[in-house]
């Protein structure tokens, strides 16, 4: 009976991992660049926050379907369909949750003392080595926030999932969609249980982020 939750967690875990590797270079680039393109890239990555999930879902659906060049390519070459399966959910979630990963990382990198990074360059370290050995270890709260909020946000998504994945039991039926269906079928008892679990979990996740950050601030001075 808890299969939808398992799918939600699996989806969120994979999304977090994929997004982390996409967002890390992107956030690092945005924090360091003075390019005129920066506002455009920032606006693009922030779009999923303001766009209705149905709009986002619609565009993803259109561009991944077998009638589109991308969808056709994957169908012909790899014989995989990119809509109404778990893979499509991961792709959609990555778009949907992108800003929740990029923005905390970017503001974390921007808050680092620039001299610290320059000291690393002077010590002979490349930008890449500086990113992994100096920048990332020094933005732990931002890093944790990005991971947890992205995870929670992916578990909480509904519209995009429904548009792109539908509601195939055991494949794309995640917890939020399951609740929607229970209400449709007037299974209020099930909806209550599922909703309560979602509510409790979301609260615990957010609480742990704030507790961690408060602890970290106390340990390293209140500045960050």
């Amino acid at each position: 009976m808890f299969e939808p939750f398992l799918i939600s967690f699996k989806l969120a875990s994979i999304t977090v991992i994929v997004l982390f590797f996409i967002s890390l270079p992107l956030a690092w680039y945005l924090s360091q660049t003075q390019s005129r393109l920066k506002p455009f890239i920032e606006a693009l990555t922030a779009l999923p926050i303001v766009l209705p999930p149905s709009v986002l879902g619609f565009y993803i659906l259109v561009s991944l379907s077998q009638n589109s060049p991308i969808g056709a390519f994957f169908k012909n070459v790899f014989d995989v369909s990119l809509v109404f399966n778990f893979t499509s959910l991961v792709i959609a979630s990555c778009f949907y949750s992108l800003p929740f990963m990029v923005q905390p990382l970017q503001s974390g990198f921007e808050s680092i003392n620039k001299n610290m990074l320059e000291a690393s360059y002077i010590a002979g370290k490349s930008k890449c080595e500086t990113l992994f050995r100096v920048a990332l270890p020094n933005i732990k709260p931002a890093f944790i926030t990005a991971i947890i909020v992205t995870f929670a946000h992916t578990v909480g998504e509904f519209g995009v999932v429904l548009m792109v994945g539908g509601s195939i039991p055991g494949e794309t039926k995640v917890a939020s969609v399951a609740i929607y269906e229970m209400v449709e079928l007037m299974n209020y008892k099930g909806a209550h249980i599922y909703s309560a679990i979602m509510l409790g979990m979301s609260f615990i996740v957010l609480l742990s982020v704030y507790v961690f950050n408060a602890k970290h601030n106390r340990k390293f001075g209140l500045k960050r």
């Binding site: 003392n113 001299n115 320059e118 000291a119 360059y121 002077i122 002979g124 020094n138």
Partner: protein, 282 residues
């Protein structure tokens, strides 16, 4: 020997100005770079470090760091840089901060010993005092076995006692390693103690360059004491006038006659000097 000949347009606090510097530094020299704020001192240091771009040429021994064709990145210049705000790697212990630069553990331990940090080697930067942090930063800069050591107002955030202690340590390190050093400083006593050569920068141009004594001792002719200060107050006491002048952190009283006060007004920059007499130093 280090040859520097650079130009750069700056958009500083007082409108645009151009940094235009042509200098030759001898190996092992300790140079103090001084001048009003906004005169381009930090920019010059950052250009030397490769952190900012400029036109011109920088040549260190036989290696070109900067010329029309290429700019050597900071990673390849082998320099040491000490920032005013320490800029230590917060995620690493004192020893790790040093070993990050180079894995030469013997050098690291020796530097920590010279600066009396051996016992603190496993502490993290946020548990150290300002003076301790700056000593770590100094050691970290030396770990690169730098061809050129750049110190950007390294001691200005510290209290006078800690300043003096660190001045001694900088001096010890300089004697030990004989690294060519440029230090930005505003403190004449600090410059006098450490540097053998002073370069004064004003509006991006070198206005004086020479021996520390010649440039810092501002006495002329037979004057023995000469101070510049700001006139804070002029008051009449019976038949004489008393002027209160602020010289550095100190206030002094000077007795004046009425005609001497006629050309003075509050806020003036004044020079107080006196000829031969026997001062008491206690």
């Amino acid at each position: 020997m280090i040859k520097i000949c650079i130009k750069k347009e700056l958009h500083g606090s007082n409108a645009a100005m151009s940094l235009d510097v042509d200098l030759t530094l001898n190996a092992g020299e300790f140079i103090a770079l001084t001048g009003e704020s906004g005169s381009g001192k930090t920019t010059l240091l950052r250009i030397l470090a490769g952190l900012e771009e400029a036109n011109g040429e920088i040549k260190v021994n036989d290696t070109s760091w900067l010329n029309a064709a290429k700019t050597l990145p900071p990673q390849k210049r082998q320099i040491g840089f000490v920032f005013q705000d320490y800029a230590l790697f917060e995620n690493m212990s004192v020893l790790q901060n040093l070993l990050f630069v180079s894995i030469n553990k013997n050098l690291a331990l020796r530097l920590l010993e010279i600066t009396e940090l051996t016992e603190l080697q496993n502490r993290y930067p946020n548990t150290l005092s300002g003076g301790q942090k700056q000593r770590v930063s100094l050691c970290r800069a030396m770990m690169n076995e730098p061809k050129l050591l750049l110190l950007d107002e390294p001691l200005s955030a510290l209290d006078p006692l800690m300043r003096r202690k660190l001045q001694d340590e900088i001096l010890t390190l300089h004697r030990e390693f004989n690294t060519t050093t440029i230090m930005v400083s505003h403190d004449p006593s600090e410059i006098y103690k450490l540097a053998s050569r002073v370069i004064v920068l004003n509006q991006g141009k070198v206005t004086s360059d020479g021996n520390t004594k010649e440039i810092l001792l501002k006495t002329q002719g037979s004057q023995k004491f000469s101070f510049t200060g700001e006139l804070l107050e002029l008051k009449k006491v019976d038949v004489i006038f008393i002027a209160i002048v602020a010289i550095g952190q100190q206030l002094v009283e000077v007795v004046l006659s009425e005609e001497e006060t006629s050309e003075l007004s509050i806020g003036d920059k004044v020079t107080i000097s006196t000829k031969a007499f026997s001062p008491i130093i206690s």
